[in-house]
């Protein structure tokens, strides 16, 4: 083999290895998204936003490709949540509330199933490894490519890829919100007995429940608005309409996402005695922007920078 051929082979080998290592963070993120749905685990995680902190005991099981979870608040009121597939049962002192889960990506299942949609808007990089809940975890940072969204720091279990910690920071690296496991165990076996023990003493899974909430309408036949100049990377993922209390009209909630961040855009008719509002405010980790247009109060709400909610409020055109 000539020297030229040897060099060429080495060069090709180098580039192919480099390509694999560059793809690795995205591959890990994809494995992480799958792990959070597939793994069985039990532990306690601690959540902190600017306004409050809470601890939650969690059990997650995947039985016959269906996800079940049980969450119990350890601070404050002893509320409990059970998930079975896409149904969520919230049990509190006031009784049982059943919801259909659509866009709620609850910790640790914070990643979307389609990781590719994140590539346009976030730059991915490895950070330092550290010990979380007695397990080694690799930090992966999703840094926003623009000023329209926050940065997401996710510590992923080195062995089974479950996200163990999530920190959301703004563009000045200030922490907006975080959740982290303090204890976690993966060695529990969950089977149909678990389902019986955890669920069936609280909820009758075979029973059909009727909703009491007559104000929520799940159809919208006439979109009478246009959207222009939406913030880059956000797509409409849901549209909910509700009947307005005291008015014989509907108001609308449009939900947009870039895969990690979510923004709600509300279009609400205003009552005669109500004064319309304009401007923006911050409540905890949530920014809100309001604009008034043609008898409608437009409000956008989300854990995104103020510029993003402002752009959403100005995007409606009648």
């Amino acid at each position: 083999m000539t020297l030229f051929k040897k060099l060429l082979t080495l060069l090709l080998l180098f580039f192919s290895l480099a390509a694999i290592s560059m793809d690795d963070p995205w591959d890990i993120l994809e494995d992480s998204a799958k792990a959070s749905h597939a793994l069985n685990y039990e532990g306690v995680f601690h959540s902190q936003s600017s306004s409050e902190t809470n601890s939650t005991h969690v059990i997650h099981a995947n039985i016959d490709n269906k996800e079940y979870c049980s969450l119990k608040m350890l601070d404050g009121a002893p509320n409990e949540v059970f998930c079975a597939g896409d149904l969520v049962y919230v049990i509190s002192q006031d009784g049982l509330l059943i919801k259909k889960r659509k866009n709620q990506f609850l910790f640790p299942s914070v990643l979307p199933s389609d990781i590719n949609q994140l590539k346009k808007n976030y730059q991915l990089s490895f950070g330092e490894k550290k010990r979380i809940a007695d397990r080694m975890a690799q930090l992966i940072v999703l840094r926003a490519k623009d000023n329209l969204r926050f940065n997401y720091h996710i510590w992923i279990d080195e062995k089974n890829f479950l996200p163990l910690k999530l920190v959301v920071t703004d563009n000045k690296n200030k922490t907006i919100e975080q959740s982290t496991f303090t204890t976690i165990a993966f060695n529990k076996e969950f089977n149909k007995e678990f389902k019986k023990d955890i669920f069936e003493k609280n909820i009758n899974l075979s029973k059909l429940y009727a909703t009491k909430n007559k104000f929520v309408e799940n159809y919208v036949s006439n979109k009478f608005w246009n959207l222009k100049d939406l913030p880059a990377g956000f797509k409409e993922v849901d549209l909910i309409s509700r009947r307005v209390n005291g008015l014989k009209l509907l108001d609308y909630q449009l939900i947009f996402s870039d895969g990690l961040a979510y923004v709600s855009l509300f279009i609400r008719p205003i009552k005669r005695e109500t004064e319309p509002k304009e401007g923006s405010v911050t409540i905890g980790s949530t920014n809100i922007s309001a604009k008034y247009q043609d008898g409608y109060q437009i409000m956008s709400v989300g854990m995104v920078p103020p510029e993003t909610v402002n752009t959403f409020s100005g995007a409606i055109e009648f």
Binding site: L106, F107, L249, Q253, S264
Partner: protein
């Protein structure tokens, strides 16, 4: 059919006939809109916006109230395939004026149309807005549980 609806608003039919009319409201096209129009005519003739207290018209308005109303403007379209229909403008304007009167009275729309607005303060944010956002998008179980409580 129109005669029966007219009689209804003049309180000249019995309860059984009212039930028959109501059952036809959703089955036969145009019955519901005719009811709204006759209601307005009846109110205007009586110069009375309060409905007569005979339970018959109350029953009809309650049934109409149960139906959500979607208000909307004209959807703009730039499609090259949009058909253009020529028409005489005055009948259209006349119909539109009637529709405005009917809509504003029949549905009692109380939408504010003022041009001035006030600066947004934290206390101006309706709690149901924040709750609705977290209920639909939360990635933090604490929000989800709290929203679940307040949504009752």
């Amino acid at each position: 059919m129109n005669e029966k609806i007219s009689s209804l608003f003049d309180s000249e039919i019995n309860n059984k006939e009212v039930d028959t009319l109501l059952s036809k409201k959703n089955k036969i096209a145009g019955v519901r809109s005719s009811m709204s129009e006759y209601q307005i005519i009846s109110d205007v003739l009586k110069k009375n916006t309060v409905l007569p207290n005979n339970n018959l018209t109350d029953k009809i308005m309650s049934a109409i109230d149960e139906e959500p109303t979607q208000m909307g403007g004209i959807i703009k379209t730039n499609s090259a395939n949009t058909a253009v229909v020529s028409f005489d403008i005055w009948p259209v304007l006349g119909s539109f004026a009637v529709l405005v009167v009917i809509a504003s009275t029949a549905f009692n729309i109380e939408v504010n149309n003022v041009s001035t607005s006030q600066f947004l303060a934290k206390e101006d944010i309706p709690k149901e807005i924040i709750n609705a956002h977290h209920a639909a998008t939360a990635n933090n179980m604490n929000y989800f549980i709290q929203v679940g409580d307040s949504a009752k």
